[in-house]
């Protein structure tokens, strides 16, 4: 348990923040705490030597170009134990040092440690007073300021998470987010008068000091982080989520003025998440949820904090697309997978991001439909909706294309902060969504949903690890899923089944054969009325999954076969009165992890030439248009 009582003051023109906090830490582990760990996340943005910026550069970011005007940092100016009687105890500031347990990068200053004069035994409580000041970075990693729009997140000296065996705190990396203990937050934020504030929890009071500043007090129990936003620009909207069996929730939307008219879309998407996640997994227990609509290019888009999240929309956001709905459902959904079931985001990011992508996709398929692909032109400002291109849950929402391109990027069991930065999204988000959706199709939602519900109930307000999730899946579905989990979680196995061969012809017998056993063989040649159909199905990937094979015949009949998918190939042969038309492996498309769907089927009357002609013709018009356009240059 770690609770925080914080006073913070923002100097908006200088982008400075100062604060003091009293931290109450109760050792939740099974071993004494001999030291403390403090996260100072904003130091990741102080210089290009930080592990965050170095990792970002590996993923394609420009880490060599941090403008000093954009830098952010935190400096602890006081750190002292509070005696049980409330008086000042030992000063710890002198012993505070930066540590780099994860990558030994001596230049990284995002994690600090300090030895305690006396250990904190399991169940014992320690109180600390800490003071700090900070430079708010220009928006990066979903925190900071752009113009006068602030999102102030991972902003205060924060204790690491204390696990059963001791401190479980990591440096700050670009791939991953945060992990902390649950507690109570009581925070007083002083900002200029008339600036709108949104924060974790509910607003308890608002006090003007008469000198142009207002202090907003927010409080919340049972959360593991506190984030806030302030801006003079927001337009505030409120609506109440109601449901026959779930508790009511006050939804507060802080909308950008230029997105006027999009309030319904934000509220509907948030309500959809509260409804479906609530019905499938468990109720959202807090009385309020705050939706931040981030400013253009603020870099705040799509980030979750307890009871508050940022969505993301555009000035021109055509209806019939999932912007802002998709990101809104996703971040609202994180209130469940992250906010309540608080898995370790630094080590097991897939547990909240992947499970949440799976859930978001499921909600999306039930709510914001139809959802058409949008292309943006002219500097990315002008949208064009492709009404011929509807998006689907199984492929688009689950990110199949991203996974296909980076399926072997990393073993999912690798600690997430060590994933290759260029492909971590595919491993964290898409792969998980795809394997969970595969399980849903394999087992049925009626078996998977109770398992997830049970997992949610069991691990709400706690910190599960992967083994806990897998155990919950086994218990909830009544199925031993170890073989499948091993492949998707502990290897980079890729699944690819294909129909390798399909022929179907009248049975024709030719050669020599004796009429009777004692006779000499004589030439025979006969053609039967039946057709021999031969199907060979192959496993081209290293992943193994049971698949069905469907063979269709000209007379409208079909045969379905089950194959355990283990061998390199499997032969099926039939002699039937009708010729085969097609063969398809995984015809019901259960195995969504299959990276090459095109080779899953074969037809004896293929239309590929027709399709290729159709699309080559369309492409030709595009090319002609390009040529005509370029011609004006000569």
């Amino acid at each position: 348990m770690a609770s925080y009582d914080i006073d913070a003051t923002l100097e908006p023109e200088a982008h400075r923040l100062s604060g003091r906090a009293r931290i109450t830490f109760t050792n939740p582990g099974q071993v004494p705490a001999y030291s403390l760990r403090l996260h100072l996340y904003w130091n990741a943005f102080s210089d290009t030597g930080s592990s965050w910026l170095r990792q970002s550069a590996l993923g394609g970011g420009d880490a060599d170009a941090l403008d000093p005007r954009d830098a952010g940092w935190q400096q602890v100016t006081a750190l002292r134990i509070v005696n049980p009687d409330g008086s000042a105890g030992p000063d710890l500031l002198g012993g505070l040092r930066f540590i780099q347990p994860d990558d030994q990068n001596a230049e990284d200053r995002t994690l600090a440690a300090v030895d305690l004069p006396a250990a904190v035994a399991p169940g014992e409580t320690l109180r600390l007073d800490v003071e700090w000041h900070a430079q708010v970075p220009r928006t990066i990693a979903r925190t900071g300021v752009r113009g006068r729009d602030y999102l102030v997140a991972h902003w205060f000296p924060k204790l690491g998470r204390f696990g059963a065996a001791g401190w479980d705190a990591r440096q700050f990396f670009a791939n991953t987010e945060f992990a902390a203990d649950f507690g109570r937050y009581d925070v007083r934020l002083t900002v200029p008068d008339d600036w709108i504030v949104g924060a974790t929890g509910t607003e308890v009071s608002r006090t003007r000091d008469g000198r142009g500043a207002t202090t907003h007090r927010y409080a919340q129990d049972g959360v593991h982080d506190f984030a806030w936003t302030t801006s003079p620009h927001y337009v505030e909207h409120r609506r109440t989520f109601t449901h026959p069996t779930l508790p009511s929730v006050e939804m507060r939307l802080l909308l950008q003025p230029e997105h006027a008219g999009q309030d319904d879309r934000h509220f509907n998407a948030t309500a959809a998440a509260l409804r479906y996640y609530g019905e499938w997994y468990g109720a959202y227990p807090y009385p309020q949820i705050t939706i931040i609509d981030p400013a253009w290019r603020s870099g705040f888009d799509g980030m979750e904090y307890p009871t508050i999240f940022t969505a993301g929309s555009r000035w021109l956001a055509p209806r019939g697309t999932s912007e802002p709905e998709g990101v809104t459902v996703h971040e609202a959904g994180h209130q469940f997978w992250f906010g309540l079931v608080s898995s370790h985001e630094t080590d097991d990011a897939w547990m909240d991001e992947g499970l949440n992508t799976f859930s978001e996709a499921r909600v999306g398929s039930l709510t914001h439909q139809p959802d058409y692909r949008v292309e943006r032109f002219f500097g990315g400002f002008v949208p064009w909706q492709l009404r011929d291109v509807p998006l689907s849950r199984a492929t688009d929402y689950n990110g199949l294309d991203g996974y296909r391109r980076a399926g072997r990027g990393d073993v999912q069991a690798t600690p997430s902060f060590r994933y290759w930065p260029g492909t971590h999204v595919a491993t964290t988000y898409f792969k998980t969504a795809l394997w969970l959706h595969t399980l849903e199709r394999h087992l049925g939602w009626e078996r998977l949903q109770p398992a997830l519900q049970q997992y949610f109930a069991q691990w709400r307000y706690r910190h599960p690890r992967p083994a806990d999730f897998f155990a919950a899946l086994d218990a909830g579905t009544g199925e031993r899923l170890e073989g499948f989990i091993d492949q998707v979680y502990r290897t980079t196995a890729v699944f690819d089944y294909a129909v390798d061969h399909l022929t179907s012809a009248q049975v024709h017998t030719q050669g020599v054969r004796p009429a009777r056993l004692s006779d000499a063989p004589e030439a025979i040649e006969r053609t039967s009325d039946t057709y021999r159909t031969t199907v060979v199905v192959r496993r081209l990937g290293d992943g193994v999954f049971p698949v069905d094979v469907r063979v269709r015949f000209e007379d409208g009949t079909e045969v379905r076969e089950a194959w355990d998918g283990r061998g390199a190939w499997q032969l099926f042969q039939y002699e039937r009165p009708a010729r085969a038309v097609s063969a398809e492996v995984d015809a019901e498309r259960v195995l969504l992890l299959d990276v090459a769907r095109t080779n899953n089927s074969r037809s004896l009357a293929p239309r590929s030439d027709e399709a290729a002609t159709h699309w080559a013709r369309q492409w030709m018009v595009w090319l002609q248009d390009l040529l005509v356009q370029m011609a004006v240059l000569v």
């Binding site: 752009r146 113009g147 006068r148 729009d149 003025p257 230029e258 400013a295 253009w296 000035w315 692909r373 292309e375 032109f377 002219f378 500097g379 400002f381 002008v382 064009w384 492709l386 011929d388 291109v389 998006l391 492929t395 688009d396 199949l400 294309d401 296909r404 391109r405 399909l502 398809e584 095109t598 089927s601 037809s603 004896l604 293929p606 239309r607 590929s608 030439d609 027709e610 399709a611 290729a612 159709h614 699309w615 013709r617 369309q618 492409w619 030709m620 018009v621 595009w622 090319l623 002609q624 248009d625 390009l626 040529l627 005509v628 356009q629 370029m630 011609a631 004006v632 240059l633 000569v634």
Partner: protein, 335 residues
């Protein structure tokens, strides 16, 4: 007076296109000459990827995004340009946007476009000659005109191409990457940022347009006045555009408005992904229309230039007159 003359030039441009529809047909056919082989290559790649798959069933009549993304994941060369942006009006926006955003062409496509531009340069001499003379040239004389001016116009294209390259490859990244980005550094409204972007685009486009106009009139003067020095033609083109700036600007505006109207019309009727042969007919009509606008623009420029000369329809060099062949003499009745 000026407005009247510009309107007359604009209408005269269309009148000359009406007199020479074969020019539009020729250019349209030229787009096919370049585009069909490329499309055939793509056809092969698409057909090979689909193989005998049932995925072709849906792809044959519309979008199968599942197959499409799978194809793109392994595609290279021309295949990599086969994105959903090619559908209907999105294709037009994609190409226009490619110009404003200075998106480079993939190398293979760059070769295709370069071949097309070379073809264009070679044909343009004949086109200008035809609309300048306002009389049919016949196949042979048209080809002769093309050949006569091709070398000069290639030289002109190299000079202007260097100007475009500097502007798009060197100035564009700086203008939109640094200047525009600095301007919107603290802008938090997308609407405001878009206004900035539009402003930046207009400022960026003005020199492009100026270069384009000067090059257009340089081409016109090179052909009509039978100029050999292309630097001289450029100077002459610039001088003409400067002296008749009101007329030239109005003509450009009228041509841009015509193009915008044509694009707007196409946006309403652009065939979708499922369109069959009828869709192809509509698309080709759109392409032909754009070419007609292009030729009418050239003809209007010629007309405007000729209207400033001593007599309209002036073309410096005479049309070639080939003597009758000796064989004709042989069969001529003896007098």
């Amino acid at each position: 007076m000026t407005t009247k003359r510009q309107r007359a030039a604009y209408l005269e441009g269309w009148q000359r296109v009406r007199q020479a529809p074969a020019l539009v047909l020729l250019l349209w056919a030229a787009t096919l000459v370049v585009a069909v082989p490329a499309a055939w290559l793509l056809h092969g790649a698409l057909a090979a990827h689909l193989g005998d798959s049932l995925m072709a069933e849906t792809a044959a009549g519309g979008v199968n995004l599942d197959w499409w993304t799978e194809f793109l994941a392994q595609a290279s060369g021309l295949g990599a340009t086969f994105s959903p942006r090619i559908i209907g009006m999105a294709a037009v926006l994609d190409n226009l946007s490619r110009l404003t955003d200075a998106r480079a062409l993939p190398p293979v496509l760059g070769i295709v476009v370069a071949a097309w531009l070379l073809l264009q340069v070679c044909v343009m001499g004949g086109v200008i000659e035809r609309v300048a003379r306002q009389q049919p040239l016949g196949r042979v004389r048209f080809l002769w005109a093309c050949a006569r001016h091709a070398g000069r116009l290639v030289r002109l294209a190299i000079i202007t191409g260097a100007g475009y390259w500097v502007w798009f490859a060197q100035v564009h990244p700086w203008w939109f990457g640094e200047v525009y980005e600095a301007a919107v550094r603290d802008v938090t409204s997308e609407r405001v940022a878009f206004a900035w972007w539009l402003g930046a685009a207009v400022v960026f486009a003005v020199p492009v347009l100026l270069l384009n106009v000067v090059a257009d009139y340089a081409r016109v003067r090179a052909v009509v006045e039978d100029r050999r020095s292309m630097i001289g033609a450029l100077v002459a083109g610039a001088r003409f555009a400067g002296q008749a700036r009101g007329a030239v600007a109005t003509l450009v505006l009228l041509q841009l408005l015509t193009l915008a109207a044509w694009l707007g019309l196409y946006a309403l009727v652009a065939p979708g992904a499922a369109a069959g042969l009828w869709g192809l007919v509509v698309s080709q009509a759109y392409i032909a229309g754009r070419l007609a606008i292009r030729v009418s623009g050239v003809a209007a420029q010629v007309s405007l230039f000729q209207s400033r000369l001593a007599h309209a329809g002036y073309v410096a060099h005479p049309l070639p007159q080939w003597p009758d062949s000796a064989a004709a003499d042989a069969i001529r009745p003896t007098v």
